[in-house]
């Protein structure tokens, strides 16, 4: 580019593209700034001991965020248990096993699932999933972490499927041919060669899917019961819980701006942001990992 003067038109185009590129950084920085500016006063307004206690009842100044943080974790872990096997296996089926016509039906279907608004899934949860779980498992109520996990799993599946499928498709055919030439079965080829070769892509897919479930709000607000119960044992999966996202969504609208409650809600948002950040950093660490030597030679 050096030495060559840009025409004004070219200059405009170049700048506007660069401008758009930088805008995302600016937005993230601004969001971070506002989260921190509004969330940090919580640390001084509410004693730390109270902030990390186990009771959340903000209108009487009980600001214990632990049940909310753990509630989010429980739902996210539950959702991953549902979504990871389902998503990865669906991707394997679509990419490796399915005949052409099945692929043509399945791929748009999975994409359709991705486009399903979460409020619709929430309604499905209230009307179908939670009564079903209550009857089958004889629970006191169906509005539990389990129903939230199942539905969130459904939300994460499309992300996992489409990214994993891309990763599987990117595995060179020479791998498959080589494996089959050695006399392995089709299953051994898929499970022993193709999937490991696409490992980093699949892991990225999983992390992005998990990231999606942490931030999901509407569905969990509708189906998890929103009771800020402190998770103490494995049984919590069958009890109502309250997540960070649902808390922010349901309380932010009515809270007096600038009150301790308001700042605590922003503080929860900071915690949520940190969670998502960790997941995204892990995902990018995996996907930008340098290929090792054997992979380089083979591909």
């Amino acid at each position: 580019m050096t030495g060559k003067k840009l025409t004004p038109k070219e200059w405009m185009i170049t700048r506007s593209i660069q401008f758009s590129g930088f805008s995302s950084i600016i937005f993230v920085l601004l969001i971070l700034y506002f989260l921190i500016a509004q969330g940090m006063p919580a640390l001084t307004e509410v004693p730390l001991k109270s902030l990390f206690s186990v009771r959340w009842y903000p209108i009487e100044s009980y600001f214990g965020i632990l049940p909310l943080v753990l509630g989010s974790l429980v739902v996210t872990i539950g959702a991953s248990i549902v979504a990871v096997p389902l998503g990865v296996l669906t991707a394997v089926y679509i990419a490796e096993i399915a005949p052409f016509w099945a692929k043509e039906i399945l791929k748009p279907m999975v994409e359709l699932l991705a486009g399903l608004p979460s409020v619709v899934l929430g309604f499905l949860g209230i009307l179908v999933v939670s009564p079903f779980l209550r009857d089958v498992l004889h629970l006191p109520t169906g509005l539990t972490a389990l129903s939230g996990s199942l539905l969130l799993g459904l939300i994460a599946v499309p992300t996992i499927v489409s990214i994993s499928e891309d990763a599987l498709n990117n595995v060179p055919d020479t791998y498959r041919h080589g494996a089959l030439a050695l006399g392995v079965t089709r299953w051994q080829m898929i499970w022993g060669v193709v999937v490991p070769a696409a490992r980093s892509g699949i892991l990225t897919a999983i992390m992005l899917g998990v990231g999606r479930t942490i931030g999901e709000t509407m569905t969990v607000m509708m189906v998890t019961g929103n009771a800020p119960v402190m998770p103490e044992s494995f049984e919590v999966l069958f009890m109502p819980i309250r997540t960070m996202t649902a808390t922010i969504a349901s309380e932010m609208g009515e809270v007096a701006s600038g009150s301790p409650h308001y700042h605590v809600l922003f503080f929860i948002a900071v915690v949520l942001f940190v969670f998502t950040l960790i997941v995204n950093i892990v995902a990018s660490k995996i996907s930008f990992r340098k290929m090792n030597r054997s992979e380089r030679i083979l591909s």
Partner: protein, 353 residues
């Protein structure tokens, strides 16, 4: 530059205009960068500014620098200035009515105001919440025309008003009653207020303790931001005792909507819920409530609420300074008219007969 930071901060704090503010800020940071870049070029030996040169590394460095400065500036002038939310529009209204108070009534008041303004374009009504106390205090200092309150005015407030030359006049504009509901198959029919309080505070955990089947009790409630939630907490769980600090049992399910509560109560034989009388449908069973056993169990209905028999009910008031006149009188007449009371019913409250 500090000025720019200040302006954009105040813009950003106005949530309604967040998009516009972000674009503004974005533009500002970009110009900041260009100016900085040009200045840098001016005082250095470079031939042309980096952004024209297309020196990517240099640009990156300066861009980051500008962003850091910009964000710091924003932080430095974080001053919250009030943004007047009064939206000016077309034809200028002749009369203004200031209406402030109870958060429970804020939706109701907004609906009334909207409907009324559609028919009377010369009247502009501004409705704000803040709580019954806030509304009454504003009436005392004569800064509002109508104060909304979900409790009657206290004697000391009446006295304080007289000192300021304000004579508060009470108007009952609607009633608020809360029905306690269970699944249609639940054999429990009657509960005392004390029993409902024990259920929600977590002291009673099984329907068999109340003469029902051996089932765990699943408590349902509206979210904490709902006026119904607060009223239920104060008048049922704490039985109206201000000293009492009992709160909802931690495993109470807080559902975001009335529909959510109705749906769960309809489907779940373990559930108990409560909601404004107007939201109750036929698919759930309404419990008869007694303030105390000797006073007998009463089902909530428009009649029992208006006759003051049902215990979980309260009047909703509007207070004016002196007998209302002119526009305010016309507005209050509208509120008490069948059209105004229809809105009361639509929003889940009990109309005044």
């Amino acid at each position: 530059m500090a000025d720019c930071g200040f302006v954009s901060t105040s813009l950003l704090l106005n949530a309604e205009n967040i998009g516009g503010a972000l674009i503004f800020l974005w533009t500002k940071l970009f110009f900041f960068f260009i100016i900085y870049d040009c200045l840098f070029h001016f005082f250095s030996s470079e031939n042309r500014p980096a952004f024209i040169e297309g020196n990517w590394l240099l640009m990156k460095k300066r861009m980051v620098f500008c962003m850091v400065i910009g964000v710091l500036l924003l932080a430095a002038c974080q001053v919250q200035d009030k943004v007047d939310s009064d939206v000016a529009s077309g034809d200028a209204p002749t009369y203004y009515i200031q209406n402030k108070g109870s958060d429970t009534m804020v939706n109701l008041a907004l609906y009334w105001a909207e409907e009324y303004q559609q028919e009377h374009t010369d009247v502009r009504i501004s409705v704000t919440g803040g709580g019954s106390g806030t509304g009454i205090t504003a009436l005392l200092s004569n800064t509002v025309d109508i104060a909304n309150a979900s409790r009657p005015i206290k004697q000391e407030e009446i006295d304080a008003a007289l000192v300021n030359g304000v004579v508060s006049v009470e108007h009952i504009v609607a009633r608020d009653a809360i029905a306690v509901i269970v699944h249609p198959d639940n054999p429990v029919q009657n509960l005392t207020l004390q029993q409902v309080s024990d259920i929600y505070a977590g002291r009673i955990g099984n329907w068999s303790q109340l003469g029902g089947e051996d089932r765990p009790i699943v408590r349902l409630s509206r979210e904490t931001n709902s006026g119904t939630h607060v009223y239920f907490l104060e008048s049922v769980i704490r039985l109206g005792n201000n000293e009492d600090k009992t709160i909802f049992s931690a495993d109470t399910l807080l559902l975001p909507s009335s529909e959510g509560i109705i749906a769960e109560v309809r489907d779940n034989p373990n559930a108990i819920g409560y909601d404004g009388l107007g939201y109750i449908t036929d698919e759930v069973k309404v419990i008869a409530i007694a303030e105390d056993v000797s006073k007998g169990y009463v089902f909530p209905s428009v009649e029992t609420v208006n006759q003051d028999l049902y215990p979980i009910a309260r009047d909703l008031y509007m207070y004016t300074n002196g007998e209302p006149e002119g526009v305010i009188e016309a507005y209050l007449t509208y509120i008490l008219s069948p059209a105004g009371q229809q809105i009361v019913e639509d929003l889940g409250f009990v109309p005044v007969q």
